[in-house]
């Protein structure tokens, strides 16, 4: 399967060229355009129960779409995301990666979308009660609102809530107040994520929550 992320970092979208027999799993409503011969099937996001949990507790969609090339020629599929921003591909080789709610875009069939308990603190910080863990062998594409920033962490690091996109599974995520009670609520930072451990984290430069917070007093 040939894939190319184009027009990043502002308006990243992915062009796939699926060989005969190949397939791709995408988040619901991710398709922008495709060859007319492409087969599309929707299924629960990892089964009914798991799908429901992902929807209500992990902020992901209940259904995912499977695109399959059942012809004998190469077919085109263009996949996009709701927010203007950058995208990235990660290749998994029997390892795993954690994605924050809404970051997942699509993956090849060898990748398993799993849920892991994130804790009540995560819910309070509006990051969802569960976290999405991608594991297996294959490629995963995720996206962000704004650009993607990388950071190697060894020890502790603080990230504003709703700006974290991805981190490694051995790292621990905790929620805390950004400063004291007073400064937390008056600096409009509120809660922040504190990540502990050793590994790479990815941060997005903008957040939908931030945009909402800016718009709400103005309407």
């Amino acid at each position: 399967m040939e894939s190319k992320i184009t027009d990043g970092p502002s308006f990243a979208h992915i062009n796939f060229y699926l060989e005969p027999g190949e397939s791709l799993t995408t988040e619901s409503d991710a398709m922008a355009s495709m060859s007319a011969e492409m087969d599309m099937k929707a299924s629960f996001n990892g089964g009914l129960i798991s799908g429901l949990l992902k929807k209500f507790l992990g902020n992901e969609s209940l259904f995912v779409s499977h695109f399959t090339n059942n012809t004998n020629k190469i077919l085109h599929l263009c996949v996009t995301q709701a927010t203007p921003g950058d995208m990235r591909k990660v290749s998994l080789d029997n390892d795993s990666i954690c994605l924050q709610p809404g970051a997942y875009i699509c993956s090849t069939p060898g990748v398993k979308l799993g849920l892991r308990w994130a804790g009540f603190a995560s819910l309070i910080a509006r990051e969802g009660l569960f976290k999405l863990v991608m594991s297996g062998k294959g490629d995963v594409w995720y996206g962000a609102y704004g650009c993607l920033l990388d950071k190697e962490v060894n020890g502790e690091y603080i990230i504003d809530t709703s700006h974290l996109v991805s981190y490694e599974p051995q790292m621990k995520l905790k929620i805390q107040l950004s400063g004291g009670i007073f400064s937390s609520f008056f600096s409009s930072e509120g809660f922040v994520n504190r990540i502990e451990g050793k590994g790479k984290i990815v941060i997005q430069s903008r957040s939908i929550d931030g945009l909402r917070g800016w718009m709400n007093p103005r309407i």
């Binding site: 502002s10 308006f11 492409m38 929707a42 929550d209």
Partner: protein
Amino acid sequence: MNIELLHQPGNAAAKVTLEAGESCTSEGGAMIAMSSNMDITTTTHKKKKGSIMKSLKRMFAGESFFLNHFTANGESGEIFLTTTLVGDMMQYDLEDGENLIVQSGSFVASEESVDMDLGWEGFKTLFSGEGLFWLHLKGPGKAIINSFGSIYPVEVDGEYIVDTGHIVAFNETLNFDITKAGKNWMSSILGGEGLVCKFKGKGTVWCQSHNETSFGQSIGPKLRPR
């Protein structure tokens, strides 16, 4: 008329230079700056043509009710045009008699020689996620078209599917039907794709990488009711 597109694709703006006496037509509200010798006339239809019916149709099309006509008076002048949402723009040169069908919200401006009308594509457009009417631009002349996100052209020869809300413009040699994305209706609706536009024929369709509705839905539910 000379068109220069600046700062593509993130924050595209068009700098239009008009020779003395030349004029161009733009969507109401698109102008952000211009030379002082520019005369503006605002009409509800194309200059010297059209009727109140046409402007009513345009209002239904999701376009502004008014069109602005800019004329460079005495010497050459320039106008800067832009759009509300972040995104790209493209210039299209129409040949004599050539038709381009443009999603009504994507029109920015056109040269005086371009004829503009609204086409009724049938009730299927109710489901297309786009406006009810589509603009038919008829050449010769230049036109400027905008998008939410970037624009990518697809050469269609046979059939091709574009999700609703992603169409910017297409050649008149193409025709589209509203259909389901998957093999059955269940999959199409559950998969979140719902209805899609299936293009048939030979020609080019210009798609936009992002979709206003999807972006709106990711903010909308969390906004405070007025």
